[in-house]
């Protein structure tokens, strides 16, 4: 079989395009619903923390547990475009991360509850930045953007931090999930 250099170059470009499209489709299949789910959890959790006069643990405990159960169901149910060990590994990674954040809740207690909320948010956004190494720059920018929003809120909007995190953080996750669901398939 003989190919011209132009044919070889064209074939390699086709391969690169297909690999990129597949990675984005995989990401859309796994991540779109997860982003929307946790964006809604953040919007409800941070929003309730801003306006309700209750211990934030009573808000975030049930919300986080509900989110984790729904997240597990999304990750493990069929049908989905890809099945295999990576889905379980991603889920276990986030579970481990939640445990890490939880350990520091115990160590740092008592703490500024609002700052801790922003801290937990940035821990998960760090995971998105790391995940972006495999799944694409979009997740790196999402992680960095929400982290920047959290830091901005802590420094400039202390009295409205929870509302800011609900809108800027939760809203960003929801918008991102809807975007990749629509644009990446």
């Amino acid at each position: 079989m003989n190919l011209s250099p132009d044919e070889a170059e064209s074939a390699l470009a086709d391969i690169d395009r297909m690999v990129a499209r597949t990675r984005r489709a995989v990401a859309a299949g796994h991540w779109a619903q997860q982003l929307v789910l946790w964006g809604v959890v953040w919007m409800l959790g941070f929003g309730a923390s801003q306006f309700l006069r209750v211990n934030e643990g009573f808000i975030w405990g049930p919300l986080s547990l509900t989110g984790a159960v729904v997240s597990w169901w999304i990750g493990f149910r069929d049908p989905k475009p890809i099945r295999g060990a990576v889905v379980q590994r991603i889920g276990l990674f986030f579970l481990t991360l939640a445990g890490f954040a939880g350990v520091w809740a115990v160590i740092l207690h008592p703490f500024n509850v609002q700052h801790f909320g922003a801290y937990v948010a940035t821990v998960f956004m760090f995971a998105y930045v790391v995940g972006g190494i495999w799944f694409g720059r979009f997740f790196i920018w999402l992680g960095l953007g929400v982290t920047a929003a959290a830091v901005t809120g802590v420094l400039l909007l202390p009295q409205w931090l929870n509302l800011w995190m609900a809108l800027a953080g939760g809203g960003s996750l929801v918008a991102s999930g809807l975007y990749i669901r629509r644009a990446w398939r």
């Binding site: 391969i15 489709a25 295999g84």
Partner: protein
């Protein structure tokens, strides 16, 4: 020296293999998702998958989920090696054409 692979080089099969090798070892892609990704009809994709399966490059697994038939696809170790050799051969064609 790496050799070009005629079975893989056909444009649709090249796209199929490019997509499936993107998955990690042990991962499988749903048949429906691959037809959507490649914008192919079921019959067209099925025909090309048959050729790749006969060559030992792709594994096709049929199962039932909630009583509905599902087909999952993955690249075999032989297929992954053949694809990598084909890519190396394509790159060699380009290198050979570069002025010295």
């Amino acid at each position: 020296m790496a050799e070009l692979n005629e079975t893989i080089h056909q444009s649709t099969r090249l796209r199929i293999m490019s997509s499936l090798v993107t998955l990690e070892t042990g991962e499988q892609m749903d048949f429906r998702s691959l037809t959507d990704l490649l914008a192919l009809t079921d019959g067209n994709l099925g025909a090309h998958l048959l050729k790749l399966e006969e060559a030992g490059y792709v594994r096709v697994e049929k199962s039932f989920v909630d009583r509905k038939p599902r087909t999952h696809l993955s690249v075999t170790a032989k297929g992954r090696a053949a694809f990598e050799e084909h890519v190396a051969a394509l790159q060699a064609v380009l290198r050979a054409a570069k002025p010295k």
